[in-house]
């Protein structure tokens, strides 16, 4: 028998990855309200924050910069967990995995699509904060954008991973307070991490959002890329990659 397989399944195929990313974005395009919410809500929050702390510019700088890192993480977490859950429950995931699609293609496709959206979201939020709301950043706004993108990828990775443990949309939405809120409380947004109880500080040391916020604060205070900044971004990127790999392991070609 001839064994000509025109399209072998490799770990990562660029054409299949971009086709998947284009498909995810095309789905979103039929849902303009979601796009509007994703892009405008962070801007609105920053705007509110600016006038809540109208008298104390320093507080706005601190919290504003941290939020620029937190928004993409939360948005992409929610969108990805629901999107992949729908993919699982609608049977399209089973169909895709019966086709010559690598798991890496699917995950990279999602990461690419939501990463693109995250860049737009972060550009809007950063631009608004820096140029219109007077967020005082010592470092380069481009670095803010870079960290925001890495945070978005981390959010995508976490969302993909937890969607494997959610049997319904109700459960998937509940993973947001379960996975995101503890990180939010411990990341240094409310109290500096080194001022926390040692146990809490130790927990915050192993949560990735802490490093996302630390990296944002490094940019806020230093004109150059500091060693701490490089370390923090590397940790966020490493976590995103690790969780994406774990997420890939939850995609099974054969299911019970």
């Amino acid at each position: 028998m001839s064994t000509d397989t025109p399209a072998p399944t490799r770990a990562l195929n660029l054409a299949r990855t971009t086709a998947t990313a284009a498909r995810v974005l095309r789905q979103l395009r039929h849902d303009p309200r979601t796009i509007a919410l994703m892009l405008l809500v962070p801007c609105l929050m920053l705007f509110l924050l600016r006038y809540v702390y109208d008298g104390s510019a320093h507080v706005f700088d601190n919290i504003g910069a941290s939020l620029l890192g937190i928004f993409p993480l939360i948005t992409m977490f929610l969108v990805t967990s629901i999107a992949t859950l729908r993919e699982r429950t609608s049977g399209t995931l089973e169909r895709l995995l019966a086709l010559p699609l690598g798991k890496g293609d699917l995950i990279a496709g999602y990461a690419l699509a939501f990463g693109t959206l995250a860049i737009i979201q972060a550009a809007l939020a950063t631009g608004l904060a820096v140029w219109f709301l007077g967020l005082d950043v010592t470092g380069s706004p481009w670095l803010l954008l870079l960290v925001a993108l890495l945070d978005a990828l981390l959010g995508t990775a976490l969302g993909l991973f937890v969607s494997a443990f959610a049997a319904s949309e109700f459960q998937a939405v509940q993973f947001m307070p379960a996975v995101i809120f503890p990180q939010l409380l411990l990341c240094g947004l409310f109290t500096p991490r080194d001022a926390m109880h040692p146990v809490l500080e130790a927990i915050s040391d192993v949560l990735p959002m802490s490093y996302a916020v630390d990296a944002m604060n490094e940019i806020l205070r230093h004109a150059d890329m500091t060693a701490a900044f490089v370390r923090d971004t590397a940790i966020v990127a490493g976590c995103a990659l690790l969780v994406l790999t774990l997420g890939a392991a939850t995609l099974k070609r054969r299911t019970a």
Binding site: M1, T3, T5, P6, A7, P8, T9, N13, A15, R16, A19, T20, A22, R23, R26, Q27, H30, D31, S90, G91, T92, E94, R95, L96, L97, A98, L99, P100, L101, K252, R253, R254, T255, A256
Partner: protein
Amino acid sequence: MMNYSSGPPEEPAVHAQDLTVVRGPRTVLRGLGFTVPRGRITGLLGPSGCGKSTLMRAVAGTQAKVTGTLDVLGSPAGHPALRTRIGYVTQAPSVYDDLTVRQNLHYFAAILDPGRAAADRRHENVTRAITDVDLTTHADALAGNLSGGQRSRVSLAVALLGTPELLVLDEPTVGLDPVLRRDLWNLFHTLASERGTTLLISSHVMDEAERCHRLLLMRAGEILAGGTSRPEAGGDTPDALRARTGSETVEGAFLHLVDEAIAADRTKETTR
């Protein structure tokens, strides 16, 4: 033995021996043996819950915990080389509701046959698949806005994209009106006769059995008729089944065989 075939005898499209599937605490398929001949329509019939879908998932390679022998187109079921050669349609339509019919097909086509060089071929395949399932007038409608029958035809069109050698269709005509059902069965026969496609189609509607070349009757995880344990391996023809059971319809034949099986179960229990 293969007296139905006009061509040279060739290996069957699907060959199963001692096929067993366990789902959770339940053994859903118990030691099945059967074959599916190439280029023919084989109907898999039986009541709801008898294991038809599990059998189809096993053939498509998406079912976990499959033991025994299951060869599909010369490779073990689930082999990566089979992914472009099998079209599998689940009972519930698996398409993206927030994409149009054409966008759905273009995406799956890009997975089957990726790359810019294949763009023209993909476009042809998509147009042909839409025509095959008679959705040309709805090509630019969102799948979520279509009726149930139309959505299941989109799902079928996806399976037709790569011109697969084997089509595994799980209840493809459920919920369709009589005209559409007739049209789809005509399409299935065209696929078998003109493109040489092998079709394995499940149904719990017995009158559809008459439209199949070969039949496998299932009940409670076992094959009642058409399995390899019988001389007519490769499935019974509807005529043979009717003649053997002295029934006028396939439904009658099926009920006859079920009654026989129940009686056999009872005697087994009493002699135990």
